[in-house]
């Protein structure tokens, strides 16, 4: 079943066509990779899906429901979480406070009660433990290393229990041990039913992790298949190496 579906997405910035009738589908329960050379439109596609950019043309569906041009908060509340290429955490809040920002509550009255409610607190600590940074819970997030910030951003998205997580270059700029640690976590979550869409330049990481890989080039999808198929696809080689 297609959990996330973007059809014929077009988006221009001034005269530059970032996305040109681009269509992608993400099946439920998969880890889907999205690769492509720099400037091929991967991050723009992420921004459009998560409501940070408005699209010029096209249609986005999530779980059968249209989310075309929905606002970021609505997209998140529907169950699509994302990380950013340049990790974005709340630097002056502690690690634990960061975790609580994303915890969703229903009703206005819930907003007036303490942010550190006991069941959310337990869940936040569990998730910090899951990514391995519990010992940093009272540290201002600004003091974390780059890799730890990535883990924090990953963890605080999980607190809202999203159905799909969009990861924008999760392996960028972190050491190999951390990369293994992260892909292990992604697999564990995937086994529990979370779907992933991963943008990544580290092909080894993508090929080892993903069930399906899609390749973007100049704002359009040029290939899709298993990592093996994509690796052998001449159009992909052309896009990466040619002109």
């Amino acid at each position: 079943m297609n959990l996330l579906e973007a059809r014929n997405i077009s988006k221009s910035f001034g005269g530059i066509r970032a996305l040109d009738a681009c269509s992608i589908t993400v099946k439920q329960g998969t880890i889907t990779g999205l690769i492509g050379p720099n400037g091929s439109g991967k991050t723009t596609l992420f921004n459009i899906i998560t409501g940070y950019e408005r699209l010029d043309q096209g249609d986005i569906r999530f779980d059968g429901q249209s989310i075309t041009n929905a606002t970021p908060d609505k997209v998140f509340r529907l169950g699509i979480g994302r990380t950013f290429q340049l990790t974005r955490i709340f630097p002056r809040l502690t690690v634990l406070e960061n975790m609580h920002v994303a915890a969703q509550r229903k009703g206005t009255r819930a907003l007036l009660s303490r942010w550190s409610s006991s069941h959310e607190q337990r869940r936040a600590l569990d998730l910090l433990d899951f990514v391995g940074i519990t010992h940093l819970k009272d540290v201002p997030a600004a003091n974390l290393s780059y890799g730890q910030k990535k883990l924090l951003e990953f963890a605080y998205i999980l607190i809202a229990e999203p159905q799909v997580i969009l990861l924008d270059e999760p392996a960028g700029g972190i050491n190999p041990t951390m990369i293994n640690h992260l892909s292990e976590r992604i697999r564990m979550l995937n086994e529990r039913g979370v779907t992933f869409l991963v943008v990544e330049h580290n092909l080894e990481f993508v090929m080892g992790l993903c069930d399906t890989v899609m390749v973007l080039h100049r704002g359009a999808k040029i290939a899709e298949g298993t990592p093996e198929e994509v690796r052998k696809n001449p159009a992909v080689l052309e896009a990466y190496l040619g002109d």
């Binding site: 908060d73 509340r77 974005r88 955490i89 009660s113 942010w115 519990t134 003091n143 605080y156 951390m178």
Partner: protein, 387 residues
């Protein structure tokens, strides 16, 4: 807690016990300190009944309340509003006009109009906030300043309502206040104003404290750190910012109303005073933006300083230059404010004494089962009181 402590060495257990005791002791000290401060605040005008002193005390409390209200918006969200004199002025004019239209006599009655004046100021804040909050950073600051000039001009020119530059006068406070106490009148004139100002300050402080510890307050702090990121985590940034803005206008409006009654008359340049905009922001910056005690500390330092310098140097306006210089000094030398700087120094001093690294920096991400003893304590409570 107990389950966990079974397996670990006694030294670690000692550490946990000491940790908990320390935490309890800390909150005891905090509550005790607050009580002492409250008693001092309640008793102050009884001890120092000289009207010159109580005059300054009333103003200090009014400014502390206004700065605390301003801080609920600007301190928590990071949007620096420099136009809150609008709500101070609206509160002033609201109480004057209401007292006039309803023929409210002087005495305790006008104080009943204060919350209403606050609500009217808050009502003005809805459209102004809605417009200004479409923008961010410098643009936001400029728009708030613009709203201030618009309102000052209106106060001058809508003569049918505001009586223009001739101003409005309020009912005279009752001269019976001192009668029950068998003391000379002049030493009692300021007392009702003092306690009303204290009540508004406590209300503003309580609200700020509540917000700081609530989920809503955490969302405001997230907006301060990275607004777009907060939006992408389901935080309703638009309405949240506006609510904080309106709330801060409510407190500043009440302060304006009490101030107007205290002064007895209002004129456009004093009701809508650019210096007020800068003053409450300076108090917030100086004490510590986003802290609970910072704006109060700023007001307690700045108001007496301003009053006495006016007294010494007469109306030469020298204090205006001093204000500007001080603002510059605070931004350059003490950008975090007094309270956060002191807190940092204290942490540093404690860390150097106990030789324990306060902030763990390098860490290898394993499965998280290192000697994380404190982690197992379950839903830990962290009282976020920012004293």
């Amino acid at each position: 807690m107990r389950k966990v402590s079974k397996g670990i060495a006694p030294s670690a257990l000692d550490r946990i016990v000491a940790y908990l005791e320390n935490r309890r002791a800390k909150s005891m000290v905090k509550i005790g300190g607050l009580l002492v401060l409250l008693i001092v605040a309640l008793g102050l005008p009884q001890v120092f009944s000289d009207p010159l002193t109580t005059d300054v005390a009333v103003l200090a409390l009014l400014y502390a309340a206004a700065a605390t209200g301003w801080n609920i918006f600007s301190g928590f969200t990071g949007y620096i509003a420099l136009g809150h004199a609008v709500y101070f002025g609206v509160g002033s004019y609201a109480i004057a006009l209401l007292a006039q239209d309803w023929n409210v006599p002087g005495g305790y009655e006008p104080f009943l109009l204060v919350p209403l004046a606050g609500l009217i100021a808050a009502a003005f804040a809805v459209p102004f906030g809605w417009i200004a909050l479409r923008t961010r950073r410098h643009t936001f600051v400029v728009i708030t300043i613009a709203t201030f000039f618009i309102m000052q001009l209106m106060a001058y020119n809508l003569r049918n309502i505001t009586n223009g530059s001739a101003g409005l006068s309020l009912p005279l406070p009752s001269y019976d206040w001192g009668k029950n106490f068998n003391l000379p009148l002049y030493s009692f004139f300021n007392l009702p104003f003092y306690y009303v100002a204290l009540a508004i300050l406590l209300l503003a402080l309580g609200t700020a404290w509540w917000i700081r510890n609530s989920k809503y307050g955490l969302s405001l702090l997230a907006i301060r750190d990275d607004e777009d990121r907060a939006l992408g985590l389901g935080v309703k940034t638009g309405p949240f910012k506006l609510i904080a803005f309106v709330l801060s206008a409510f407190f500043v409006g009440m302060v304006g109303a009490v101030h107007a009654y205290f002064q007895g008359s209002i004129f456009p340049p004093f009701a809508f005073d650019a210096l007020f905009d800068v003053s409450i922001a300076l108090m917030g910056f100086m004490g510590g933006l986003g802290t609970l005690s910072g704006p109060i500390l700023g007001a307690i330092i700045l108001v007496p300083a301003q009053q006495y310098s006016t007294l010494w140097l007469s109306d030469s306006g020298f204090y205006l230059i001093a204000y500007g210089a001080l603002f510059l000094a605070v931004i350059l030398l003490l950008p975090e404010g007094i309270v956060p700087t002191l807190r940092k120094l204290w942490l540093k001093w404690r860390a150097s004494r106990s030789n324990i690294q306060e902030i763990p920096t390098a860490v290898t991400p394993t499965n998280g089962n290192q000697e994380d003893i404190l982690v197992a304590e379950g839903p830990g409570r962290r009282d976020g009181v920012n004293l």
